[in-house]
Symmetry: C2
Subunit: 577 residues, 2 copies
C-alpha cells in the first residue's frame, strides 16, 4: 500500500518543500486550456456532468453504495439555467452512517501514516485525472461559479489545499516516534522498557460544506481528518450537493480499491425543511466538526460542538483601507475587479472600504473621498457593462436570498447614505435565464455600522467615511477584531502607516495584502503559501494549512513493557547501561 505513496512521492515532496518555503508551487496547470488534452477532457467532463441530470419526467438517482438509505432527496437548481438539475441523492439514516464509520475506523486507524497518505494522494490524483472537469461543471451549475473559476478555485487550487493538509498531517504524525527503548537505573536496578506510541484517531468527523465554494474548504478538511485516521461524514449544503457527491464517490472507490472500508467516507444530505446540522453536531459519536458556512449557524456550531473538536470558517468584514496611492487608477481597477469576482461570493471578497475625510493622497494631490467613491463605482460599472465580460467575472448569484438582501440594503442605504451603484441583472450571453446582478455599492458613515458591520453575502460593498486616515485604520481593524474578518487590503505610500497597519491587522487576525495592483486578483489565496482563517476573530479558526489544523485530530496512546529479553533484570545484571 505504501506503493501508492511511492507513486506520488515527487508530488508529495514538492508540496512539502513548498509548505516549508511558502514559495509559489503547484503540480497542476491552473488554466483549463493547459490541462493535458484539454478539449477532449472538457467534452468528457461535460458529458459526465450531464449524465447526472434528470429531466422533467424523471429524476436521476446518484448511486452511492453507502449504507442506511431511507429515501432520496435533491432539489438543486442551476444558477445558470434556473432549472432543477433533476439529480437525487440517497438520504441516509444518520445513526447507520456513524455505525458504519465506526466499524471502518479501526483498520484505517491501524494502517501506517504512509499507507493512509498514499491512498489519499491517490484520491487527489484520481480527481485530477478523471473527475476534474465533471466537478468543475457541477460546481458551475450549483455554486454558480464561472467555468474557469470552477476549474481553478474549486478544482486544482482545492486539490492543492488538499495536498497541503496531507503535508501537515504527515509532519504532525512524524513528530511522534513509533517506538523507543528507554533505559535507566532505579537504585541498583537497571530498568529497560520497550515503548510503543500509537496514533489513535479521535473519531468520526463531520464536514459541513457551503453552497458557493464547497470543495476548497472541504477537501483539505476531509484530508486532515482522514490522514490522521478518522472517518468523515460529509454534510453538503442542500443547494450544492453534486460536487460533494462526486467527491464522496471517488474517496469511496479509491479506499475500497486500496482494501479499506469505503464507509470511511459517506454523505448525509438534508433539505431546508428538515435540516440535519444540529443532529450531526450533537451526535454522541461526532468527534470532529469542520464547518464552512453562515456566521449564524457557525456560531451555534462553535458553541455546541464540545466535546467534539471544531474547525470553522464563517464570515466577517473583509476590509479595505485607502490612505494613499502611487497610482490610484490602478488601485481602483484592482479593487473593482475583486469586488466583482464571482459577484463577491467568496469568503475572501472585500466588502468595507474605509477612507478618511481628507480623501486619498496621490502624487497628483489629494483626491476627495467622494471622487474616489465615484471613480471606484465607475470602475465597477465599466467592468460589468459588457455582458460577455460581466459573465466571465461576475458569473451568477448562487441564491435568490442574495438578490433579496441586495434589494433590502439598497432601500436602507438610500436613507442612510448614498447609492453609488444600483444593481441590475445583466444578460448572460450563454444562459438567458441565469440569476445575475451587477454589484450594489453604498457610501455611508461610521454611524451605519449596523449595515456594514457584518458579512453581507454577495456583490455588496460599502465606502465608509472615517474622520481621517488613522480613524480609517482604527475603524477597519476594530470591525475585524469585533465582527470577524479573513482578508484585508491596504493602500498606502507611507511606510510608517503600513507598519502600523500590519501590526493592527496581525492582532485583529485578518490576512493583509498591501499595495497590490495588476493582474493578480487581490483576494487570490495561494495554496502552500497563504494561510487562511487565523483563529483570532469571529471568522473562524480553520487555517487549513498549519499544524494546529491537524495535530489535535489524533491522540497518542502509549504502551510500555520491560524489554522481553530483559524481563527479569535481577537475572540479567549485565544489561548494558
Amino acid at each position: 500500500m505504501t506503493a501508492l505513496l511511492e507513486r506520488h512521492r515527487a508530488r508529495f515532496e514538492g508540496a512539502r518543500e513548498a509548505c516549508r518555503t511558502r514559495a509559489s508551487w503547484s503540480p497542476f496547470p491552473e488554466m483549463p486550456g493547459k490541462y493535458p488534452d484539454a478539449a477532449a477532457a472538457q467534452v468528457r467532463g461535460l458529458a459526465a456532468f450531464q449524465a447526472h441530470l434528470g429531466d422533467n419526467a424523471r429524476a436521476r438517482d446518484f448511486e452511492l453504495d453507502q449504507p442506511g438509505t431511507i429515501g432520496w432527496l435533491g432539489d438543486e437548481v442551476s444558477p445558470y439555467t434556473r432549472s432543477p438539475l433533476g439529480a437525487r441523492y440517497p438520504q441516509a439514516d444518520v445513526d447507520r452512517l456513524f455505525d458504519a464509520a465506526g466499524r471502518a475506523m479501526p483498520d484505517w486507524g491501524a494502517a501506517t501514516p504512509e499507507t493512509r497518505l498514499g491512498v489519499l494522494m491517490e484520491v487527489v490524483d484520481v480527481i485530477y485525472r478523471e473527475q476534474l472537469f465533471e466537478i468543475a461543471q457541477s460546481v458551475m451549475h450549483t455554486a454558480g461559479q464561472s467555468f474557469n473559476m470552477a476549474y481553478a478555485g474549486s478544482g486544482v487550487n482545492a486539490l492543492d489545499r488538499a495536498i497541503e493538509a496531507l503535508v501537515y498531517a504527515e509532519q504532525a504524525m512524524a513528530a511522534v516516534t513509533p517506538s523507543a527503548r528507554w533505559e535507566r537505573s532505579f537504585g541498583p536496578s537497571q530498568i529497560v522498557l520497550e515503548k510503543t506510541y500509537r496514533l489513535v484517531p479521535r473519531g468520526v468527523a463531520v464536514c459541513f460544506t457551503c453552497a458557493s465554494f464547497p470543495t476548497w474548504n472541504a477537501w483539505p478538511s476531509m484530508m486532515a481528518s482522514l490522514a490522521t485516521g478518522n472517518p468523515v461524514i460529509v454534510k453538503p449544503h442542500p443547494a450544492t450537493i453534486l460536487p460533494m457527491a462526486i467527491t464522496v464517490r471517488v474517496f469511496r472507490r479509491v479506499l475500497a480499491d486500496a482494501g479499506f472500508d469505503p464507509n470511511l467516507v459517506t454523505m448525509a444530505i438534508d433539505n431546508v425543511e428538515q435540516p440535519l446540522g444540529k443532529v450531526l453536531v450533537k451526535h454522541p459519536k461526532t468527534a470532529i466538526v469542520d464547518f464552512t458556512g453562515s456566521a449564524r449557524f457557525g456560531q451555534w456550531v462553535e458553541q455546541n460542538a464540545h466535546p467534539a473538536l471544531c474547525f470553522t470558517e464563517t464570515a466577517g468584514c473583509n476590509t479595505v483601507v485607502l490612505e494613499s496611492a502611487e497610482d490610484l487608477e490602478a488601485v481602483l481597477r484592482g479593487l473593482a475587479t475583486t469586488l466583482c469576482m464571482f459577484s463577491a461570493q467568496m469568503c475572501t471578497s472585500p466588502q468595507n472600504i474605509y477612507i478618511g475625510a481628507q480623501g486619498v493622497r496621490t502624487p497628483q494631490g489629494r483626491v476627495s473621498r467622494d471622487e474616489v467613491a465615484r471613480r471606484l463605482a465607475g470602475a465597477v460599472a465599466a467592468l460589468t457593462s459588457d455582458p460577455k465580460k460581466a459573465s466571465m467575472i461576475l458569473a451568477t448569484i448562487q441564491a435568490d436570498s442574495t438578490l433579496a438582501l441586495m434589494r433590502q440594503l439598497q432601500a436602507e442605504g438610500k436613507g442612510r447614505g448614498r447609492v453609488l451603484l444600483a444593481p441590475q441583472a445583466y444578460a448572460h450571453p450563454e444562459f438567458a435565464q441565469a440569476r445575475t446582478s451587477t454589484p450594489l455599492m453604498l457610501q455611508v458613515g461610521t454611524d451605519a455600522r449596523d449595515l456594514y458591520g457584518e458579512e453581507r453575502f454577495g456583490p455588496i460593498s460599502f465606502v465608509i467615511g472615517c474622520a481621517d486616515a488613522d480613524d480609517a485604520l482604527a475603524q477597519a481593524t476594530r470591525d475585524v477584531h469585533e465582527r470577524g474578518g479573513l482578508t484585508a487590503f491596504l493602500y498606502s505610500t507611507d511606510e510608517s502607516y503600513i507598519v502600523r497597519a500590519e501590526q493592527a491587522y496581525a492582532r485583529a487576525g485578518a490576512q493583509l495584502t498591501t499595495n497590490l495592483t495588476g493582474a493578480m486578483p487581490l483576494n487570490f489565496a495561494a495554496a502552500y503559501s497563504d494561510y487562511h482563517v487565523t483563529g483570532l476573530n469571529a471568522a473562524g479558526n480553520a487555517a487549513l494549512t498549519s499544524l494546529a489544523f491537524v495535530a489535535s485530530r489524533f491522540c497518542i496512546s502509549q504502551s510500555r513493557r520491560p524489554r522481553r529479553d530483559a524481563a527479569s533484570p535481577t537475572r540479567q545484571p549485565g544489561a548494558t547501561p
Copy 2:
C-alpha cells in the same frame, strides 16, 4: 536576548533529541543527595521556606509586586504539622490582572521565538539553581508529599516537563517560515510578493493548579503558553498556593531582568468561600485555560471554556488487569508499592484491580481471586506497618475530605463487598501531628460500579471480581472509555491477550504499562518519553508533550505586498521568473 538561549543551548538540544527518540534523559539529578553541594542547598532551601511562614501572632505577607492588590488571603495548613503556614498572598482585582497581562503581551508576542525560549530556559535554570529546595519544602508542607517526592516529582521532573513544552513550542513555531518570496505569472504579468508570517499569541491564559501536585502540570502549561507569546494568570488551589507563588515570583523576576513586563505572569488567588474559578474561565479576555483538578469542576470548565482553548487533566479510573504472571509475588509487591506511593494522591495512581473468577494463572498453578486479593492487601499492610517506611512511601493525606471519603467508602464497602484492608492513621516519626492514613482496600463485584466507577481520590482501591479474564479486560477498558482513565497496568504471560489489551487500552485512551515489576514505580511517568492524558476519554486532553498541546496556542497572521523594487511589474518586465 538570544544570548540566553545560547547559554542553555546544550540543555535545550539534549531535550529536543530526547523528545525525538523518547529515550531516557534528564539534565538534572533525580535524587536530592546528588544535587551539587546538596547539604548546603537543603539548609538554604529550608531556611528560605521558613522565611515565608508567619506565626500565631502575625501572618507573613508574600510580596509579589503585581498590580491590583485589594487584600491579602491565605489559609494553607501543613499536612505534616496541621498548623497554618501563616503565609498571606496578595488578592488581586481580576480585571486589573487581565488588563496588565494585555498590556504586557504585545512586546512579548513581538519578540522572536528564540528570545522567548531563551528567557524561559533561564526561568528553568533559576528555579533549578536557586529555588528548588525551597519549592520542595513548600510542596511538602502544602501538598503533603514526602520531601524526596517533592524534590523529584514536583521539582526536577516538573522542570523536565517544562523544558519539554518548550521543545514542542519551538517545533510548532519553527514550522512557520517567517517570510517568503512568492512569484508567479498571471497572464503576461509576473507578480512578485514579499510575504511575512507573524506568530500572534492567542491571548491571556489562565492556569489552574491542583492541591496535591501543582508544579508538574503547571510548569509545562505555563511554558506552552508563554513560549507562544501568551501571558499567564496562575490560579492556585487555595490549599497549595506557596509553590505557585514562588514560581510566579521567579517568572516575574527573570522576565523583568530580560527587559520584559513582569505582568506576563501573575497570580489570582481565592478561597473556598469566594471561589474565582468560574469568573476566570468566563472572563471575556480569557483565551486559553489549562486546568488540573477535580473531575466535577473540570467538566464545567470543559463545557464552558469556549471560546477559550481548553486543556484539562482531571481524573478517572486508573485500572489494573491481573490475568497471569510469571512471578506473582513480584507483581503484588510492585502493585502494593504503587497503591501506597504518596497515598495514591497522584493522577497516575491505580485504583481498580480487575480479576476474573478463575483467579490469576502462575507457573505454580492458578491462584484464586480471594487469595490474590488477600496477598495484595497483605503486601500493602507490610509496606505500611513500619511508621518510618510508611512515612517515606505514604507521606501524608493532603485534605481532611479524603479521610472523610475513606470513612464513607469503608462503611459502604462493608455492605457491598469485603473490606480487605481497613485504614488507620500511622504515627509519622518526624511530625507527630501529620494527617496520615494507611490505605483502604475493598473487594467488590461489578455490581458495585457506582462505588469504583469514578476517581476516589486518596489511598483507596478496589479488587473487582469479573466473570473471567476477557470480562476483566472488557470491564476495565469500558470503565476507562466511559469514565476516564490516565494510566493502566496489565499483568499477563499470554501474548495474544497482551496484544488485545494494548489495542483496547489504546482506543480507550489510557497509557498502558505491561508486566512491570521491580524497582521502578509502576506509575512513574518519564518526561521526554511518556505522554500524559491522551484526549480520548474523560480524563482530559493535556498530553503535555505533543504538538497538539502547543500548536493552537498561537495563530498565524500574514501580510504580503509586492516586492519593493518590483512594485510596478509593468515597468520592470525583466523581473526574474
